[in-house]
């Protein structure tokens, strides 16, 4: 399986082809459209991350020391961001996820989406992803 680092590099390379913000956002929107919808039953209050702007739902399962996430949002660009975030962490090991910094966002110029000002749920989602890493690590011990 590809490491987090390798997956980040893939994404950075993909984004390097975009000349302008429009291409970038068109891609993000298409990622958002393609992201599998979470089934309504999984959208429980416990899985919900409340943002003021957009809502995010996040759920995680562990399978043989790999964490698998599913996530959703009511806003399409937030869904696009979710697709990118999940792409790097999907199936990775708890110990890696627990400390992972999502550095690629900086490279592709999308860190603003994690600003506390956005209140879109993504900042909390990133924290939550790491917490799942910590929690599943702890469980295993």
């Amino acid at each position: 399986m590809e490491t987090i680092l390798a997956r980040e590099e893939d994404i950075i390379e993909e984004f390097s082809f975009f000349d302008d913000w429009m291409d970038k956002y068109t891609y993000l929107i298409s990622l958002g459209k393609d992201l599998a919808k979470m089934i309504p039953e999984s959208k429980t209050p416990e899985n919900q991350i409340k943002g003021c702007q957009s809502q995010v739902w996040l759920n995680a399962k562990i399978n043989e020391n790999s964490i698998f996430f599913e996530a959703d949002s009511d806003a399409i660009i937030t869904r696009g961001m979710i697709a990118l975030l999940l792409r790097v962490v999907q199936g990775q090991k708890p110990e890696e996820i627990a400390v992972y910094e999502f550095k690629f966002l900086q490279e592709i110029g999308l860190t603003a989406h994690l600003s506390p000002s956005r209140a879109n749920g993504l900042l909390s989602m990133v924290k939550q992803i790491r917490l799942y890493g910590v929690a599943f690590q702890a469980k295993r011990k």
């Binding site: 429009m22 956002y25 929107i29 702007q53 957009s54 399409i76 660009i77 937030t78 879109n120």
Partner: protein, 403 residues
């Protein structure tokens, strides 16, 4: 005059965002500040900064005199009867809390508080908290789907148990101008006290508190071209005398012993601690700037722009308007069919257009309209026609990108 030409007074508007000229259409959240206000702050800290009141030295006198001059200026501006009826607070939210807190010792179980459904959270939650602590009952003036208050309900809502009626002058989420005089006289006819949240009215229209006959009126400097961190509470003397002080501290007492203190007269009774001196003095300059232009001229300018924008938006098929009150000011709230407001906000920002999206701290309105939020553009004296044109162009691009 069709449009004002004051944009040049605002240094911040002369910049690029994401490589595009900044178009600031988020003035209802906070207005930008004219250069004279920024200069006055520099001037204050470079020549007069000192703690106010109780100082015998020259700086203290200079600061106190400028500070009290602003109180007088605001008193004239809203036509209060007395200077001491102007209390400086942290902002509108602080003003609402001051009054709601004051009523804790006045209300009893069985009393009723009437609040409108059109409120900003700041003029709702303090009353919820008051209801909870006092045992009073909270009742609501409902809104119609076009964003007006349904006044036909007033007759059944108001009765001799009604102690407070609280509502805003202009809704920040929908721009509706509420009929203050009408509601006030209905409230007074059952002996209720009227609290009006004027945060969105003060920047956009002439406010005459004696003519409106309201008991309390609140506003924020930062929404009317002044600094952040300062606001006002106007209250009729009799009411301000009646409610107990909100905060204890320096300035607000006459005499202090270890066990007990006697409170100072108005306005000091409600101004504990060092005030936001710079904020008040900057506000004074903002007020002078505003009065030099004339609030009526600002209103005309904004009304013209509002109509211009509405016409252009109507031509875009995907646009759904929220709030179409007959009397409205400076705000347009809308959605794009099949999309989430947040997505539009993000894309508009990429094109240098600052709009606000979401529930605008007015969740009950969104619940009533059954939407997650709106896209809101809001205007100010410095907004120009070209801002609207650029916004419309960007909005069309946004719609293309999202579909």
């Amino acid at each position: 005059m069709k449009y004002l030409k004051v944009k040049k007074d605002f240094p911040i508007l002369n910049q690029k965002i994401n490589g595009k000229p900044l178009i600031y259409l988020d003035s209802a959240a906070t207005t930008q500040k004219p250069k004279v206000v920024i200069d006055e702050i520099v001037n204050y800290y470079s020549f007069s900064n000192s703690n106010v009141h109780r100082g015998v030295h020259a700086l203290s006198e200079r600061a106190t005199d400028s500070f009290e001059e602003v109180r007088l200026g605001l008193c004239h501006h809203i036509n209060a009867k007395h200077q001491h009826e102007i209390i400086f607070t942290k902002g509108t939210t602080d003003s609402v809390n001051l009054v709601a807190h004051g009523f804790r010792s006045i209300l009893k179980p069985g009393d009723e508080i009437v609040v409108s459904e059109l409120e900003h959270h700041s003029n709702l939650i303090p009353w919820q908290m008051l209801a909870q602590t006092s045992g009073a009952k909270l009742k609501f003036i409902p809104m119609t789907t076009n964003g007006e208050l349904d006044l036909s309900t007033l007759g059944s809502l108001l009765n001799l148990n009604t102690k407070i009626v609280a509502f805003n002058h202009i809704s920040n989420a929908l721009g509706t101008i509420n009929p203050v005089k009408k509601i006030t006289s209905a409230a007074h006819s059952v002996g209720a006290c009227v609290f009006v949240d004027g945060a969105q009215a003060l920047p956009h229209m002439r406010v005459d508190v004696q003519n409106l006959d309201v008991d309390f009126y609140a506003g924020s400097a930062h929404k009317m071209y002044g600094p952040t961190g300062v606001g006002l509470l106007y209250g009729k003397s009799a009411w301000l005398e009646k409610i107990p002080p909100y905060q204890g501290g320096g300035e607000m007492i006459a005499e202090v012993s270890m066990e007990k203190s006697s409170y100072a007269g108005l306005p000091h009774k409600f101004e504990a601690g060092t005030p936001n001196i710079e904020g008040v003095i900057g506000w004074g300059t903002a007020l002078n700037w505003l009065n030099d232009i004339g609030i009526e001229n600002i209103k005309t300018h904004e009304d013209n722009l509002l109509n211009y924008a509405l016409e252009l938006l109507k031509e875009i098929p995907d646009v759904v308007f929220y709030g179409t009150a007959k009397e409205r000011a400076a705000v347009i709230s809308f959605g794009l069919k099949g999309t989430h407001p947040y997505d539009a906000g993000v894309l508009l920002d990429q094109m240098g257009i600052a709009v606000r999206t979401g529930h605008h701290c007015a969740q009950p309105i969104m619940t009533c309209l059954q939407i997650p939020g709106t896209i809101r553009i809001s205007l100010a004296a410095y907004t120009i026609q070209d801002d609207i044109d650029k916004f419309i162009e960007a909005l069309k691009k946004t719609i293309l990108l999202l579909n």
